[in-house]
Symmetry: C2
Subunit: 181 residues, 2 copies
């Protein structure tokens, strides 16, 4: 999703500043499937404001920039509804980890081992996060669905990696020291 739609989506769950939108995306249900930085959020909010899809209230603060809290307008709500019904593009995954595994043959086994261990830890972290969220309860059906989805996929990944890592490291053609001979 583009930054504008993502902002609309977050705002549909409650008013928020740009800063808070970021937090919501990072730690909320969107976290598994989207990422966004300030440099996308703030321009997006400006354009949404120009287009009348959000309104803003400025809270003067001392010590930090004034907080601008955005709220979805009726038009904004319609725009979100519209965007949600546009054709979906296929899911995409970017995996630095798998990219490297493609070259496991030419990497030192110890490096491959470490990458695998790190990836497994990452997965465990995500799994724990989904469990925490499950215990905390869900705001919507979709939220629950997504959390379960994430858990299922993460488990499948961890299982596969654990069951097949030996293929990558066991068969390496480049033992750590043999080359020098």
């Amino acid at each position: 999703m583009d930054a504008k739609t993502l902002c609309l989506a977050v705002l549909s769950q409650g008013d928020a500043s740009g800063y808070e939108i970021r937090k919501a995306v990072q730690s909320g249900p969107f976290g598994h499937i989207q990422d966004i930085g300030y440099s996308s959020i703030y321009p997006a909010l400006s354009r949404l404001l120009d287009d009348g899809l959000v309104s803003v209230t400025e809270y003067v603060q001392e010590g930090r920039p004034d907080k601008k809290v955005y709220r979805l307008t009726a038009d904004g709500r319609m725009a979100l509804l519209g965007a949600l019904q546009e054709p979906t593009e296929p899911d995409k995954t970017r995996s630095d980890f798998l990219f490297r595994m493609l070259f496991a043959d030419i990497l030192p086994p110890s490096v491959v081992e470490q990458m695998i261990d790190e990836r497994l830890e990452e997965i465990q972290t995500v799994i724990k996060r989904t469990e925490t969220r499950t215990k905390a309860g869900f705001q919507s059906t979709g939220d629950a669905f997504l959390n379960g989805f994430a858990a299922a996929v993460q488990h499948a990944m961890a299982d596969y990696i654990e069951d097949n890592r030996y293929q990558l490291v066991g068969s390496s053609l480049v033992p750590q020291r043999a080359v020098a001979e």
Copy 2:
């Protein structure tokens, strides 16, 4: 991975033109985890050429632009090796489908149904592609690992969606016409 590294990676498996690099990424093992368009490839190749990481041979053709076939240089091979050992950033998924499922409550059930069916079909397509690739054999250990990984994850996703779709559609709070009042 950035476009340059991805080009180096493809070229490490054999010489190729920009056009062929795209094809290789689309249909090869990279396909599951990377995507790249011409508008990223060609500038990347230019920069790699400037940096001496690839060399080029131009084949004059009639009827279509001259074909420029790129080849990894020794420096290029080293650069790839280096890039592969840089710290990996966490995997990322972008899912238009899941994004929409978060809002299943406020979408017409028929629309949600259709999105789910389409997504399941997409998954089946990917599964078939992995099966084809499995039968065709693999170029490397990593290739086999990745194919199996993709298969495992796709199956997990399909299973989860099939087992839990009723949650999304059964419980819709917004029957198709109620909003207008």
